[in-house]
């Protein structure tokens, strides 16, 4: 499984964390613009699927696939959004568990519980979080 990049958005729609492992494509816009575009896309998708759904009113967005990659989405109760891009071989159920693990095992452990980290801030400035997350993701890539 190849993991391309991760975005974490806070409840206000600000990108508080971005990290890329492998990325060949470029979105042709600055990084700040790209974060805005990504949040805008997720926001639109959520609104679209709720209105498009012929069955149910509350409907959770899980993932979407293009011909090259799959974007996985996980939203916590506190409206924190985790977005992970992987290759197409990744199993959606498994990646959903991985995103939950990133939230409970890494974000909560190394950002929320970190007294030097301001969770209300505009970005996560914790080298420990990055280091631990890198270890976790690289262990996934081998498997």
């Amino acid at each position: 499984m190849t993991v391309y990049n991760i975005y974490i958005f806070n409840c206000d729609g600000q990108c508080i964390y971005y990290w890329q492992w492998e990325r060949s494509g470029d979105s042709n816009v600055s990084q700040v613009e790209e974060f805005k575009l990504m949040y805008g896309m997720i926001f639109s998708i959520k609104s679209l699927i709720n209105r498009l759904s012929p069955i149910d009113v509350d409907n959770q967005f899980g993932s979407f696939a293009t011909n090259k990659n799959r974007l996985h989405f996980y939203e916590t109760q506190s409206k924190l959004k985790f977005i992970l891009n992987t290759d197409l071989q990744a199993d959606t159920g498994k990646v959903h568990e991985i995103l939950k693990e990133i939230y409970t095992g890494y974000y909560v452990q190394y950002v929320v519980k970190n007294p030097f980290c301001d969770i209300k801030g505009v970005s996560i400035e914790s080298s420990l979080f990055t280091k631990k997350l890198n270890c976790f993701i690289s262990s996934l890539s081998i498997a």
């Binding site: 391309y4 990049n5 890329q20 492998e22 990325r23 060949s24 494509g25 470029d26 979105s27 042709n28 790209e34 575009l37 990504m38 805008g40 896309m41 639109s44 998708i45 609104s47 679209l48 699927i49 209105r51 498009l52 759904s53 012929p54 069955i55 149910d56 009113v57 509350d58 409907n59 959770q60 967005f61 899980g62 993932s63 979407f64 696939a65 293009t66 011909n67 090259k68 990659n69 974007l71 891009n85 959606t92």
Partner: protein, 217 residues
């Protein structure tokens, strides 16, 4: 394991064909005793549940029928007001059906151009070069499959989650479009598809595919 809807979007992002395959008896029917504890709010598309979720009735559902008789907006078939009917104890027990309201024509046109935009955003934001837009999308209630043809036309199927074989169905639908819409001398390119033969063959295709899909399980 069923197909729920088909949308066809042209190159410019406007809707040229759509069909809803989902059964009309969807939703939940609940028998109530007096007093009626669900709070309904009047909205342009009918009476919407605003408080009192129970037995599968959710906020946002619309009241569609009372005792099996369809309701239009806030009025019963005999012209009486629904809320007045529900406030009288002698009418109980009453069985009321609630369902999610399907998007109307204007909304469907808006949603398809919205999808067109999202499709292009997805291709721009992809971490790999030369990526297409959304080909498949999974949500908790349905799965969306999209086929973009070389000419930029998009075929979109909504199906129940984990339905197999939608990719084949998309290609066959494209064939039908070519055979019965494009080759129709009265059909104008990029305009809404109103071809009887296309409709007829599409229904046949969906019927067949449902047999195949359910046969696999």
């Amino acid at each position: 394991m069923t197909i729920l809807a088909l949308y066809v979007i042209n190159r410019a992002g406007s809707l040229i064909f759509d069909h809803d395959f989902s059964p009309s008896n969807m939703g939940v029917e609940v028998t109530f005793t007096y007093p009626f504890e669900i709070i309904l709010k009047e909205e342009p598309n009918g009476l919407v549940v605003s408080f009192g979720c129970r037995d599968g009735i959710k906020i946002g559902h619309v009241l569609v029928s009372i005792n099996g008789v369809p309701v239009s907006g806030c009025h019963m078939s005999d012209g009486g007001d629904v809320r007045e009917f529900l406030s009288r104890p002698e009418n109980y027990p009453v069985s009321v059906r609630f369902s999610k309201l399907k998007p109307n024509v204007n909304e469907r046109i808006m949603l398809s151009s919205m999808f067109n935009t999202i499709y292009h955003m997805a291709s721009q934001l992809s971490p790999e070069k030369k990526s297409t837009g959304i080909q498949e999308m999974e949500t908790s209630a349905f799965t969306l499959h999209c086929l973009q043809t070389l000419s930029g036309l998009k075929f979109i199927y909504l199906s129940e989650p984990k339905t197999q074989g939608v990719d084949v169905l998309l290609k066959k639908t494209y064939e039908l479009y070519v055979d019965f819409a494009l080759k129709n001398p009265f059909y104008n390119l990029e305009m809404p598809v109103r071809c009887e033969l296309f409709d007829k063959n599409l229904m046949l295709l969906i019927e067949q595919s449902e047999k195949v899909i359910s046969g696999n399980f």
